[in-house]
């Protein structure tokens, strides 16, 4: 930047122009609204980290009271859907072909051996290629096995009941009692959608000027870099808020996600996040030579954000280096803010650190963007 002066009037002129262009570009405009809606439906309805009703084949060689009781309890847990009894070979191919998730083999004489107290072994085989698909069901089964037959073990057999632990464990699943995936995913989506559209839209808006040759005219006007930058960014801040409002509305009406905290606070904190992403997009536009490159850079940035931020996978499950990278990404901090405010009812005190991190990121990227934006064609 050189010389004096920042002019509101020039900034307004730039913004006004951007708004008109945005309005004329129907496809892009439709994308701004369409992309969040599509992601919301795909992620919101499709993702479930706690799958139930898993197809389970049971090879019951016992056909006794206890085996039937055990099968009934498993079905009642909701995790297992018992499929028609199959032969050993069919169960084997079923697992191999992925049509069956679990095979439970109940040995002959199971009921008799339980009655005798000889602890017969049951075999549960799982298709564990996707650990996430089986782990919840299996841990439920382990707990269930302890007391599955309590009701049947009456009279003299009651001696075989497993004694209760000398203490009781009370589990409070706070902020998301029923462990509903949507409560986690839908607020997170807000961050994902904003990251994607904000970065790509600004990067495109700037490179378009260069590609169409209008940059040359823009550069010979008295417009300052900061005016061009803000003029490009502010209209998209508004687009960002429209997207946020849409998702918030859908979260409330379609997915019944609770909003425990203050919406106003969330909106305010989001401003920093939106600006940070727009600054990233602007920086990309100073590097990219055409719109295609800008688009590619946008996706390149999008990938680590979606994978390392804790949106897709638990943040604490990542190795330390990945967490360190994740801490740099704005989406990581925004997810903590949005989940904190919506699910936990966080207030200013709890989120101020995360907002600070976003602010720092924004400042650094904005400085880079302004340094790179040249007022000449050199």
């Amino acid at each position: 930047m050189s010389g004096p002066g920042f002019s509101w009037q020039r900034l307004r002129a730039m913004m006004f122009k951007e708004f008109i262009q945005m309005r004329r570009d129907r496809l892009t405009f439709a994308m701004m609204v369409g992309v969040p809606m599509m992601q919301l439906i795909l992620f919101g309805f499709a993702i479930n980290s706690d799958p139930r009703n898993l197809p389970t084949a049971i090879l019951d060689r016992d056909q006794g009271v206890f085996s039937r009781a055990l099968i009934a309890r498993m079905g009642a847990s909701g995790y297992f859907r018992v499929v028609e009894p199959l032969s050993d070979a069919e169960a084997e191919t079923g697992l191999a072909e992925g049509r069956i998730q679990f095979v439970l083999t109940i040995p002959e004489g199971f009921t008799r051996n339980v009655s005798r107290g000889t602890h017969p072994a049951l075999l549960i085989e799982a298709d564990a290629t996707d650990p996430a698909a089986t782990s919840n069901a299996l841990s439920t089964l382990t707990v269930l096995a302890d007391h599955a037959l309590d009701r049947e073990l009456t009279g003299p057999l009651s001696a075989w009941r497993r004694p209760a632990a000398p203490f009781t464990l009370q589990v409070h699943r706070r902020y998301n009692q029923e462990g509903i995936t949507q409560f986690n995913v839908v607020p997170g989506l807000m961050g994902v959608v904003l990251t994607m559209t904000m970065v790509i839209m600004t990067a495109l808006a700037m490179t378009r000027e260069r590609e169409r040759g209008t940059m040359e005219s823009l550069l010979v006007t008295p417009l300052r870099p900061i005016e061009v930058m803000l003029g490009k960014i502010i209209p998209y801040v508004m687009v960002g808020y429209i997207q946020m409002s849409l998702i918030l509305l859908a979260a409330r009406l379609i997915f019944a996600v609770p909003v425990m905290g203050n919406i106003g606070l969330l909106m305010l904190a989001s401003m920093v996040f939106i600006m940070a992403n727009l600054a990233v997009g602007f920086t990309f536009s100073t590097i990219a030579r055409n719109q295609l490159q800008a688009m590619q850079m946008g996706f390149f940035y999008f990938l680590p954000n979606i994978l390392l931020s804790g949106f897709m996978f638990p943040f604490r499950g990542m190795p330390e280096w990945a967490q360190a990278v994740g801490e740099i990404l704005p989406l990581t901090h925004f997810l903590r803010i949005v989940r904190g405010v919506m699910l936990k009812g966080n207030g200013v005190g709890e989120i101020v650190g995360e907002v600070g991190a976003l602010g720092l990121f924004m400042l650094i990227v904005t400085t880079i963007a302004l340094k790179r934006y040249r007022q000449t064609l050199d």
């Binding site: 050189s2 008109i20 262009q21 169409r212 006007t221 000449t376 064609l377 050199d378």
Partner: protein
């Protein structure tokens, strides 16, 4: 009064390739300077350096009494630059484009000026049409109107009439001359000889170097060319084979057909005349010495540069 443009030793290199090579140029206020030269000779780069879009690697100069290195922001306010490619917003309407330029320049009576410009253009009725839908000639008029909106003192026009029909070109030049009469200085690049002849002065550059400058008459006189026009005496005789036999002979720098007439010329008069002796005895052609045209001069200047290894 100082000159509107006065630059010395202007040099610009792109990745080691010298695009503009120690160019010095002076344009007096209120003059129209034609800027000529083959494609890629550095005309656009020079213009961009003049209005602050590019920083010269070497050289210095003043534009409207402002330093082109340090005061480019102030220069931009007083210069109208019309780019080679149409560079207004195709997805904005005619009025919106003008309005944007007016706002960015912070013009006080914006609405009025935009209305005036529309009226002058004769586009008041089509003001809400998208600029992208205009034909080439109208785009050129709109582009010119938009770079005149802030009443600049210097106009830089980069091939403003490329692809524009003769009538529109004529109107365009009338407008330029009228404004120059009021004190506007114009630097205009063109490939058309008739346009070069409409300029008060011309500058010819090739490979980034200024090869000739002055009024059209001066440039022609300084080239020191002797030219003949060769007219076939019978309708069926073609000049093509004559042209082939002539080109490359010593003393002949220029062989160029103009319709059925052939222009032959050279800088060394004695050598030319000596070489031509046998040819002039050919009674199928009428040889007549005439004054060289601007185009003859340029065609003569060009190969001298092309021969240089680039």
């Amino acid at each position: 009064m100082n000159a509107a443009i006065e630059v010395h030793g202007l040099t610009k290199r792109f990745q080691g390739r010298t695009v503009v090579d120690h160019l010095s140029l002076t344009v007096a206020q209120g003059r129209i300077m034609g800027f000529l030269g083959p494609n890629g000779s550095g005309k656009t780069t020079t213009m961009r350096m003049l209005c602050g879009l590019l920083t010269p690697d070497e050289g210095e100069g003043r534009c409207l009494d402002l330093d082109i290195r340090t005061q480019s922001h102030a220069i931009k306010r007083q210069v109208g630059y019309m780019t080679q490619k149409f560079s207004l917003y195709e997805d904005l309407s005619i009025r919106e484009n003008l309005d944007f330029v007016a706002r960015v320049h912070g013009l006080p009576d914006r609405r009025l000026r935009v209305e005036e410009a529309l009226e002058r253009l004769g586009l008041t009725a089509r003001r809400d049409q998208l600029a992208g839908e205009l034909s080439g000639g109208w785009k050129q008029r709109l582009a010119l109107a938009s770079c005149l909106l802030h009443k600049p003192r210097l106009l830089l026009l980069d091939e403003p009439t490329a692809g524009v029909d003769p009538k529109a070109r004529r109107e365009f030049w009338e407008q330029i001359h009228a404004m120059a009469a009021e004190g506007l200085t114009v630097l205009v690049t063109t490939h058309y000889m008739d346009e070069a002849e409409r300029c008060h002065a011309i500058a010819y550059i090739a490979h980034g170097r200024l090869l000739a400058t002055g009024s059209v008459g001066e440039v022609i006189a300084r080239a020191g060319l002797t030219t003949f026009s060769v007219t076939p005496l019978h309708a069926g005789t073609a000049t093509a084979s004559l042209a082939q036999r002539l080109s490359g002979l010593s003393g002949i720098d220029l062989v160029a057909p103009f319709g059925s007439v052939l222009h032959v010329g050279g800088a060394d008069r004695d050598a030319l005349l000596k070489t031509l002796i046998p040819f002039r005895q050919d009674d199928r052609f009428l040889w007549r010495e005439d004054t060289p045209t601007l185009e003859d001069v340029f065609i003569h200047l060009m190969p001298a540069v092309d021969a240089r290894p680039s």
